[in-house]
């Protein structure tokens, strides 16, 4: 059972090396290893569901002296999401990058990013988390700059500097915790950490660093240009997975490791920032001229919803009510992951076929690229939070928890944010439904359209209709 833990890190890393050494067969290698990683993620989810949280002590050294890999329901679900999204995006990328030389550069970095994501989710050690954060940051930056265009390189450079700043702040927190508690193991730390200046300062520093990386308003400034100028499959995983990895760490720290230390005031602060993200991100998405920028600002907004949960979760007593709300949070994160990845892939198709992604000039798209438009619409349904998407269930829990704890402000924010989301999504569709002749050569490639469609379908239908399993898994895997 714990073999899956090793496989999830070793498989993509080995594949990255092989893709580097054997560029000719790299595409096949990626697809093959993608399947294997997905299988491992499923195996891990199965294991966690039946046996509860799993851990593996690397090198056979007890955690503390050595490093432990850990997985519970939350990380297992997210790992499966990562596997599915990365796999779909890999299939897409194999068609998106037309030249062999492009693919030769792309695949190793892509697999290194995959390694970083998996390693981050599995890591049970504070310093190891720092290393995975850096691996994630550098691979994401390298991929974001891949097009070599001036705007992309500029955005990637800013992304890198912000990411480094974030990691440094995280590392200071780690150092402080080591000074105070002489351990780097998360599980040990959870048991020994006590309220006090050390824990507060460490949490503040680490959270600050992670908020930079997860682009919470007003620290989001770097995200739209970076996500808006990267190649489509890269944008997809940056928006869907990479920012969420940092968010996952915030969640872990606040709800697990420092559960006894965090205060409602601090959580309210996160909530306020989340609200700012929802409103500002949605508004900017509505004003965006380009599809990719729209999608990037939408990511800013959608991350805001996740942070609205913090004041709610802290106001709920530990127990079933909090678990249900936590499930809602996970559901939102999952749906956004699938939907946003699908959206970026679909936008990539539009951009490649028409040579631009100006929203004003999409007239007639629905006739020439019906499947792509459909994928965008499905993603939109999930982003707005309409049924039957998983977002709907997530937002239901968000509003429900807010009402139950009497925090009406977040209800208003959610309502306004959702309506703004509807406005920006239907702004696209309004143009797409226009009956102007579509001037561009629009031959869709199945390897590009189907990944986008399947991802958005997962967000809109599968997660919505099979959503109850998410709660079960979280409960069984704790």
């Amino acid at each position: 059972m714990t073999d899956a833990l090793i496989a999830l890190v070793a498989l993509p890393l080995t594949a990255a090396l092989l893709a580097l050494l054997l560029p000719r067969i790299a595409t096949a290698l990626v697809i093959f290893s993608g399947l294997a990683i997905t299988a491992s993620a499923i195996a891990l989810l199965y294991g966690v569901n039946t046996a509860g949280a799993l851990h593996y002590e690397l090198g056979g050294w007890t955690a503390g002296l050595g490093i432990a890999l850990r997985a519970d329901g939350l990380s297992a679900i997210l790992l499966l999401m990562i596997a599915l999204v990365m796999f779909a995006a890999s299939v897409y990328a194999s068609a998106y990058f037309g030249k062999a030389s492009e693919r030769a550069q792309f695949w190793p970095l892509w697999l290194l990013l995959w390694t970083a994501l998996n390693a981050l989710l599995l890591s049970g050690d504070l310093f190891n988390l720092y290393v995975t954060l850096e691996l994630l940051g550098l691979s994401a930056v390298a991929l974001a700059a891949l097009s070599g265009k001036h705007a992309a390189v500029q955005a990637a450079l800013r992304y890198l500097l912000v990411g480094l700043l974030g990691s440094m702040l995280f590392l200071v927190g780690v150092a402080l915790l080591y000074a105070g508690y002489a351990t780097l193991d998360l599980a040990t730390l959870t048991q020994v950490v006590k309220p006090g200046p050390i824990a507060w300062s460490a949490l503040t520093l680490m959270t600050l660093g992670l908020l930079l990386k997860t682009a919470l308003f007003p620290l989001h400034f770097w995200l739209p240009p970076a996500h808006g100028s990267a190649p489509a499959p890269v944008s997809a995983v940056l928006s869907a997975l990479v920012v969420k990895a940092a968010f996952y760490l915030v969640l872990r720290l606040w709800l697990d490791v420092f559960a006894d230390i965090v205060t409602p005031t601090a959580a309210n602060l996160l909530g306020v920032l989340g609200a700012g993200a929802v409103l500002w991100g949605s508004w900017q998405a509505l004003r965006a001229e380009r599809l990719k920028l729209l999608a990037a600002y939408s990511t800013v907004a959608q991350l805001g919803y996740l942070f609205l949960f913090f004041p709610l979760l802290l106001a709920l007593p530990p127990g079933p009510a909090r678990d249900v709300a936590t499930g809602g949070l996970v559901m939102l994160a999952l749906t956004h992951g699938f939907a946003k990845a699908g959206l970026f892939l679909a936008i990539g198709i539009v951009q490649q076929r028409s040579g631009h992604d100006n929203i004003q000039e999409l007239g007639g798209m629905v006739q020439r690229l019906p499947l792509t438009t459909f994928a965008i619409a499905l993603a939109g349904v999930a982003l707005i939070g309409l049924p039957p998407s998983g977002t709907f269930l997530g937002k239901w829990q968000l509003i429900s928890a807010a009402i139950a704890t009497g925090q009406w402000l977040w209800v208003a924010v959610t309502a306004i944010g959702s309506l703004l989301a509807a406005a920006y999504i239907f702004r696209i569709l309004g143009h797409a439904f226009g009956n102007q002749p579509y001037p561009h050569q629009a031959v869709a490639v199945a390897r590009e359209e189907w990944p986008a469609l399947l991802l958005t379908l997962t967000a809109t239908l599968v997660l919505g209709l099979a959503g109850a399993h998410v709660w079960t898994l979280l409960e069984n895997g704790s």
Binding site: Q367, P387, A404, F426, L429, G430, G434, N435
Partner: protein
């Protein structure tokens, strides 16, 4: 899965699956698309028949599927849902036939019929919803499925109309959602139960319950076009005629009205709602809407807009009926759900025929059209007379029960004047049309005649649907006392609600 747990789902799938297949059909495969459409419609009617038979014999049908802890998707067949389901499945069949004729030459038919089927699936789901959570899901799905239909023509006006439609309905959906979540936060998951589920709550919750009621009714009122939430309806007239017919008679507007009925009877309970004092507010809103809609209709020269404002007015009869405490008023409201649907769809079919055959869009262009298109105009006349409330057409029955119910409930003081005023106004905007159509001399040339009179005055697929629905409207009035008639059904529902 046995029939008791799968039948409600199958009713939805009978239109959903053909719809999904139709999306992928090439534009040219006309025959296959038509076959699928009609087969779906007939299967649906058959399944609904089975449901009706079963429910009458005490069988219980329920599909239940957990979506999240404490949130079940429940499809449940009770008498009220069956009333709405049978209305929508019959009218869907008729509208499909009409749409096949209407859109014969226009582009993007696969897309159109795909969304058309989704729209009906959502309506049926909404009718079968066994709790408020499920209702909200289908309510939003209905919004989604109708957007592409309103925007179908792709002209700037169509896109604009669709945007306005969406702005209203999504905002309404959000209010409904918040109200529903709030209610769930207080009472947890509750099914629709005749007589309501809230009367047992202690009085400390009453203020909250009033606020929730306001949210729910505001959310539903957008689709039911309660003044001042009706602004989208005239704008959505840019849609093709079959869509307008569906929107006004079966799907959107009726979904809102049906929701109001559900909330009042099966969530709050009419007695409890009356105690809370919210019924009166609802009644007044409905009364204002009835008069306002009629007055606005009086001044529209565009035929479709006149019909649209007529809808605003007529649908609020249903809300008015629910606001009247007492079985007779309830019967009037519920039966109007069906009657208004049959009559209004007839009117829209006829209006579509005028536009499609002769290019007539305005009342002022209708001089003498009765001679050129007697069948259509006859159907139009029957429905219009019904709307005014002239016996023996169905509309008379509704108004009669509403009036009687108001007297019984002691609300005659303001309900009767509203009814009389509105009937006069109805006459004021319908009778001139009938006069023009039958008695004025026709113009030398029609505005844009492009279907020449051949065997019939227009295509058979366009002519027969309004005639069928007109006959239904007549029959619903003439045979109101017969078993299985809408009136009988409404009476049964009312009896259960009041525990008679």
């Amino acid at each position: 899965m046995n029939s008791a747990t799968s039948l409600p789902l199958l009713v939805i799938l009978s239109s959903l699956l053909p719809g999904l297949v139709i999306f992928f059909l090439p534009e040219g495969s006309h025959r296959l698309r038509t076959t699928l459409n009609l087969a779906g419609a007939f299967v649906k009617i058959f399944l609904v028949g089975v449901l009706i038979w079963g429910v009458f014999h005490g069988q219980s049908y329920e599909t239940r599927w957990a979506l999240a802890p404490g949130l079940d998707l429940v499809l449940h067949a009770d008498k009220l849902s069956l009333l709405f389901v049978s209305l929508s499945s019959v009218l869907w069949l008729v509208t499909t036939i009409y749409a096949i004729g209407y859109l014969e030459t226009s582009p993007h038919r696969s897309r159109f019929f795909g969304f058309f089927s989704l729209c009906v699936s959502a309506t049926v789901g909404l009718a079968l919803a066994g709790n408020l959570f499920t209702f909200v899901i289908f309510y939003e799905l209905l919004t989604l499925a109708t957007y592409p239909l309103v925007a179908h023509r792709g002209t700037p006006e169509a896109i604009r109309g669709a945007r306005i439609y969406l702005t209203y309905t999504l905002s309404g959906g959000m209010l409904l959602l918040i109200g529903t979540v709030w209610l769930y936060a207080i009472v947890g998951q509750t099914s629709f139960v005749e007589g309501g589920v809230l009367s047992g709550l202690s009085s400390e919750y009453h203020t909250q319950l009033i606020l929730i009621f306001a949210l729910l009714i505001a959310g539903l009122g957008v689709k039911a076009a309660l003044v001042p939430l009706h602004g989208w309806l005239p704008e959505a007239m840019v849609a093709p005629a079959p869509v307008s017919a569906l929107l006004h008679a079966v799907a959107v507007v009726k979904a809102g009205a049906f929701g109001i009925v559900r909330v009042v009877y099966d969530v709050y309970g009419v007695t409890f709602a009356s105690e809370l004092g919210v019924l009166m507010a609802l009644g007044i809103a409905a009364g204002i809407t009835i008069v306002y809609g009629s007055v606005k209709a009086l001044f529209q020269d565009s035929l479709k807009k006149r019909l649209a404002y007529s809808t605003v007015s007529q649908v609020s009869y249903i809300a008015l009926g629910t606001a009247i405490l007492g079985p007779i008023g309830t019967i009037g409201g519920i039966v109007h759900l069906v009657h208004q649907g049959i009559m209004k769809i007839t009117l829209f079919f006829a209006a579509g025929n005028y536009a499609e055959t002769l290019g007539i869009h305005k009342v002022s262009e209708m001089n003498g059209v009765g001679r050129r298109m007697p069948g259509t105009t006859l159907a139009f006349s029957i429905a219009a007379l019904g709307m005014i409330g002239i016996p023996p057409v169905a509309g008379f029955i509704s108004k009669w029960y509403l009036g009687l119910g108001a007297v019984e409930a002691g609300m005659a003081g303001w309900v009767l004047p509203v009814l009389i005023l509105s009937s006069l106004l109805n006459a004021g905007y319908f009778l001139p049309i009938l006069y023009r159509a039958w008695f004025r001399t026709p113009a030398a040339v029609w505005p844009d005649e492009h279907i020449p009179a051949a065997r019939f005055e227009t295509h058979g697929a366009l002519l027969w649907p309004p005639i069928i629905t007109a006959v239904l409207a007549l029959a619903a009035g003439l045979f109101a006392a017969a078993p299985y008639s809408p009136l009988e059904w409404a009476s049964l529902i009312a009896q259960r609600e009041y525990g008679l």
